[in-house]
């Protein structure tokens, strides 16, 4: 039933490790996103993909690499984790980006803690 799902829900890891967060949507949407929410609840877009093609890359360090194997999945891989990467990461999806008014549906979030 879940529209946008993310795994894992919680991720605790050491500095320097590499980790991945998975996202899947079953809404038939063409566009998917990754957002980062910091400790002060500030939300910022990181990436946007449309039909597996990267559309937005918001000056995110290249340690972050999104991968979209198909339009229903957008995974986020993070290399060499740093303390500042600790945050909640949200995946979202929407209908094709032909309309920037389309509602984005958000996943439940993945809380990443880097020790």
């Amino acid at each position: 039933d879940t529209a946008v799902s993310q795994t894992p829900k919680y991720l605790v890891t050491q500095m320097g490790n590499d980790k991945s967060i998975k996202c899947e949507q079953n809404l038939g949407h063409d566009t998917m996103y990754w957002y980062k929410q910091d400790s002060k609840k500030f939300l910022k877009i990181m990436f946007s993909y449309n039909n597996k093609e990267l559309i937005i890359n918001e000056t995110v360090p290249n340690r972050f690499s999104p991968k979209s194997p198909d339009k229903a999945h957008l995974n986020l891989h993070i290399n060499s984790l740093e303390l500042g990467d600790s945050a909640v990461y949200f995946c979202a999806s929407s209908q094709a980006s032909g309309g920037s008014h389309n509602e984005q549906f958000f996943g439940p979030g993945t809380r990443l803690t880097v020790l």
Partner: protein, 115 residues
């Protein structure tokens, strides 16, 4: 580039009292405006959106917002709040016609409804 300012970081309110959350935006082009709600430990859910037409927009859970182009504002209101409205509220903007359906969020307003 667009930006969004939510003037109140926290709004305490008594149950059954009215509440207004303020949002101002800045953009050089036409925009679409959104209000999202984030309940504790959950993802974001769309409350309402303004695309065009009537400046008064009604959303879910009894919320409404008014678009004021001259004041570049999109304030959210509810005439009578419930305990269950305790949450973080985010105002967001996307630029009409922009590639990637990029949402820019305000810093959020935490609403705490007291009995």
């Amino acid at each position: 580039a667009q930006s969004v300012t939510q003037l109140d970081s926290q709004v305490p309110v008594f149950e059954e009292a009215p509440v207004e959350l303020r949002c101002n935006y800045s953009s050089s082009v036409s925009v679409y405006l959104f209000w999202y709600v984030q309940y504790p430990n959950q993802g974001l859910q769309l409350l309402l959106k303004y695309l065009s037409g009537s400046t008064l927009v009604k959303g879910i859970n009894g919320f409404e917002a008014e678009f004021n182009k001259s004041q570049t504002s999109f304030h959210l209101r509810k005439p009578s709040v419930h305990i269950s409205d305790t949450a973080e509220y985010f105002c967001a903007v996307s630029e009409a016609g922009a590639a990637g359906n990029k949402l820019t969020f305000g810093g959020g307003t935490r609403v705490l409804v007291k009995p």
